[in-house]
């Protein structure tokens, strides 16, 4: 097992390095000059050159790549031309916001999606199944930003129940940073009012973001449950008089859950890098907005930092899913 994990980790490092090279080359061959953009529209050539020199952009590409890789090995992801901060500092500021949003969003999708998928399978072709299908189809079809705007209109503007955007109310002070996750940090500090404020700000963006994942979970779980419920061991369990709940929620679900779990892992990794639209609509100060602003300014090092982070997240999410597979399925455990 340890050997398997070790191999996977080594593979992960190789993949990240490949990702780094590809991102570096793409961002550097794209037209546009970050030094010129940072200097501003009126800057004379010598000013642009000064900025280019300051950030090492005047050096040959292989040298820039070498410096960047050496920096990464020392825990330095470079410096943003746009913000003037170290990329690591920026990422540590913006990533927790995205992580909190995506995690809560995925939890909502799992908590709702698994039972809804299960019930749809149990009550196949009933009105409930049709309703769940409408949710799952629209979850894939409805654009996230549109859903976000509609939720804002309904719950923030018309009903006034929830705030329009941001992580906290405008006059609230963030809790002392421990994990940088407001929900957890406010609980650790015993600040219940801040917890409530953070939670109320999280609901709309989390719901908007969770919808596609919710749809996928319902669909996959329903299909797998229908297949599992048709198996002989389920008929056998029912014949033995085992309770319906136990048969469905324990025996069938455990077998149907493996493909759903794989899908959740992939979705989670994808969501960590795909929050930009929701972050824009709800002014959520996360990594998606940071990445977009950096891309607009052609600020190479933040772009590469974000890409590496998202890539690492995706790979780690996959690794965790594989480990969960091993834990849940004895056959996979033996193979590993």
């Amino acid at each position: 097992m340890a050997l398997y994990i070790g191999k996977r980790m080594a593979f992960l490092v190789v993949m990240l390095f490949g990702l780094l090279i590809v991102t570096f080359l793409i961002s550097h061959v794209a037209p546009g000059d970050p030094a010129s953009l940072a200097a501003g529209p009126d800057a004379p050539p010598e000013m642009v050159e000064r900025i280019r020199h300051e950030y090492g952009l005047d050096r040959p590409l292989p040298v820039q790549l070498g410096i960047y890789v050496a920096g990464i090995l020392h825990g330095d992801l470079g410096q943003s031309v746009r913000t003037g901060h170290s990329v690591l500092q920026d990422l540590s500021e913006f990533f927790p916001a995205t992580f909190e949003l995506v995690t809560v969003s995925m939890l909502i999708a799992i908590i709702l999606g698994i039972p809804l998928g299960m019930l749809s399978a149990v009550k196949q072709n009933s009105w409930f199944d049709h309703a769940a299908r409408i949710v799952s189809v629209s979850g894939v079809a409805v654009p996230m930003f549109w859903l976000g705007l509609m939720l804002q209109l309904a719950f923030a503007l018309d009903l006034g129940w929830l705030p329009l955007g941001g992580r906290l109310g405008i006059m609230s002070t963030p809790p002392d940073p421990v994990t940088h996750l407001y929900l957890i940090d406010s609980l650790l500090a015993g600040q219940w009012d801040v917890f409530g404020d953070a939670l109320s700000h999280l609901i709309l963006p989390a719901v908007a973001l969770c919808f596609p994942a919710l749809a996928s979970i319902i669909r996959v779980n329903r299909a797998e449950m229908i297949e599992a419920l048709g198996q002989d061991y389920i008929t056998n369990a029912r014949a033995q008089g085992i309770s319906s709940f136990r048969t469905v929620a324990i025996y069938a679900l455990k077998n149907a859950f493996l493909p759903t779990l794989a899908m959740i892992g992939l979705r989670y990794g994808w969501m960590l890098g795909g929050t930009i639209l929701v972050e824009s609509v709800f002014d959520w100060p996360g990594i998606g907005l940071y990445a977009t602003q950096s891309a607009i300014a052609q600020d190479f090092q933040p772009i590469m930092g974000v890409t590496l982070l998202i890539g690492a997240n995706f790979m780690i999410a996959n690794l965790l899913v594989d480990l969960a597979y091993i834990w849940l399925d004895p056959r996979t455990r033996e193979a590993a």
């Binding site: 037209p31 000059d33 000013m47 913000t83 006059m171 700000h201 609901i203 002014d283 607009i296």
Partner: protein, 533 residues
């Protein structure tokens, strides 16, 4: 099975309860925020402030906050924009605009109580020139650090390398920093650059209270501001809250979550202006829109073709793009620029003339295709492209609309060979001095987005240099009148329109003092007051 159903029935109820609990946690939307210190005004804007250091950066959102926490020797105020004494109570120029002497207010103090003296002025100008970023380009060709003389603690003198009449017009953007405070936060000889990205060492009417990058920037008003306040009911603070989507800004304004917003679309303004409690600030701006030609390469190097296009354009349609909230350009200089004159022969739609000019080109028979490059996602620029496409069809010219990201557009503009046939360009002059606009048509602007015309007119160049080196306004004004006529004759662009600057505000916000020299969404926060109903 029934057991499952029972358990599942409980789930929605639990979720509803959880949601209801959360709903009650969010307080009702209120107007301006009330604090023990007084009312705090909330400004909703799209653009972040990644770096507050006045020596490193300026754009509209950055400058709005810089203006709040720093002071300069002089300040732009009002419409038309006038230069008012600020840290300097008076000044005089001598030696034909080569030497400038400023006398400082004796009560001006930095936020930590240190006096704002001539040494601080010298330090701040030297720092900006040495760092060589931000506004340094405005004066770096005429001012060297050793040209700044401290005459006495309250007098500072600038010895320029050559006569430079527009000198004063750039000074409002050169903010003064406290040398001692900067020195205390210097790291590895960086002149405090790292610290000043999110801190301030100024003497302005506000100080920084909160700085949550990517979320909001909070300022607290100084009750004992050395220059005093224009209103007793000035806000106790201002929060600049980032709201990136126009839909969010609109909702925030309607809900009262924001007191002023800057980025609504033309249609949004139409919707909110009739709502109770909301007022619209709508002012003729100084940002020109033009369709810039490449005058050095390709078909648009032919002046007759440029003239033909300029006469084929439907200018009234341009105004409709902004629902009428725009004014047609009657000169390359916006009306708010000193020395502006309406040029009589500036083209307006006249198809007969357009065909006449086209006949003088080798494209008389049509069959020509021209690129129109514009910023991807900027709906107004796309609509103008469609107008152009429609208008030029009659001349047998096909227009290809090419949306691009801004970095890609500026990259194309960097070389005459790659500069597009036609490029949509919004330009805001940084000062009201005519040189700020005239210079856009000089060789020194080649390679910049507003210099993508690559216009090469030696006579025009000579006039621009002559005008900036002439001290007396009476002698400069006629030169600028000629410059405006000359630029129109050269037709380096289709001179379009000046879109109005607009803000939506709640009606309890008073003291909105518009000045055309401010950038896009920039507001003078010092002038604002909150008058609750």
């Amino acid at each position: 099975m029934s057991f499952i159903t029972t358990r599942m029935k409980a789930l929605p109820i639990a979720l509803t309860l959880a949601a209801a609990t959360a709903f009650t946690m969010s307080g009702p939307a209120q107007a301006f925020e009330k604090t023990p210190q007084g009312s705090v005004l909330v400004f909703g804007g799209r653009q972040p402030v990644p770096n507050l250091d006045p020596s490193q950066k300026y754009d509209w959102s950055t400058r709005m906050l810089q203006q709040a926490v720093y002071d300069a020797l002089v300040k732009y105020e009002g419409d038309p924009a006038e230069i008012k004494p600020w840290l300097a109570t008076s000044w005089e120029e001598s030696d034909g605009a080569k030497t400038w002497t400023f006398h400082l207010a004796d009560n001006a103090k930095f936020h930590n109580g240190d006096p704002v003296d001539a040494e601080a002025i010298k330090y701040s100008f030297t720092r900006t020139l040495k760092i060589g970023k931000g506004p340094s380009w405005m004066l770096s060709s005429v001012l060297a650090p050793d040209g700044i003389e401290v005459v006495d603690p309250h007098t500072v003198r600038f010895h320029l390398k050559e006569p430079y009449a527009p000198f004063l017009s750039f000074l409002p953007w050169w903010y003064i920093l406290n040398p001692k405070e900067v020195a205390a936060h210097e790291k590895d000889g960086d002149m405090g650059q790292a610290w000043l990205t999110e801190h301030a060492a100024g003497s302005g009417p506000f100080k920084i209270a909160r700085w949550q990058q990517g979320t909001l920037y909070g300022l607290a008003a100084l009750d004992n501001y050395w220059k005093g306040w224009p209103h007793k009911t000035h806000p106790a603070g201002v929060i600049y809250k980032l709201m990136r989507e126009t839909a969010t800004q609109r909702a925030a304004l309607i809900r009262g979550d924001a007191d002023i917003v800057e980025g609504l679309s033309s249609d949004d303004y139409e919707v909110v202006k009739s709502m109770p409690g909301i007022a619209i600030e709508d002012h003729p701006g100084m940002t020109t829109f033009g369709v810039m030609f490449n005058t050095s390469k390709g078909p648009t190097a032919d002046i007759n073709l440029r003239k033909a296009i300029a006469y084929a354009m439907d200018y009234d349609a341009l105004l409709k793009v902004y629902n009428g909230a725009a004014t047609l350009e009657d000169s390359p200089f916006p009306a708010a620029i000193k020395g502006h004159v309406a040029v009589k022969d500036i083209p307006r739609k006249d198809m007969a003339k357009a065909k006449e000019y086209l006949a003088k080109t080798k494209y008389a028979g049509g069959g020509l295709t021209l690129d129109y490059v514009y910023v991807q996602g900027l709906e107004e620029e796309r609509k103008i492209g469609l107008i152009l496409l429609d208008d030029l069809k009659e001349l047998g010219i096909t227009v290809q609309l090419k949306p691009m990201t801004w970095p890609n557009m500026t990259a194309l503009a960097e070389k005459a060979d790659t500069s597009p046939d036609m490029m949509a360009v919004f330009t805001t002059p940084v000062a009201t001095d005519p040189d700020a606009v005239a210079f856009q048509y000089a060789k020194g602007s080649w390679g910049k987005y507003y210099g993508s015309h690559y216009l090469d007119d030696p006579d025009l160049e000579k006039m621009i240099v002559e005008a900036r080196q002439t001290a007396e306004w009476d002698k400069r004004a006629p030169i600028y009148a000629k410059i405006q006529e000359r630029i129109v004759a050269d037709q380096p662009e289709v001179f379009g329109m000046l879109a109005n600057r607009r803000w939506g505000r709640r009606d309890w916000v008073h003291g909105f003092n518009f000045s055309p020299v401010h950038f896009t969404g920039e507001v003078d926060l010092y002038q604002l007051e909150i008058v609750p109903k």
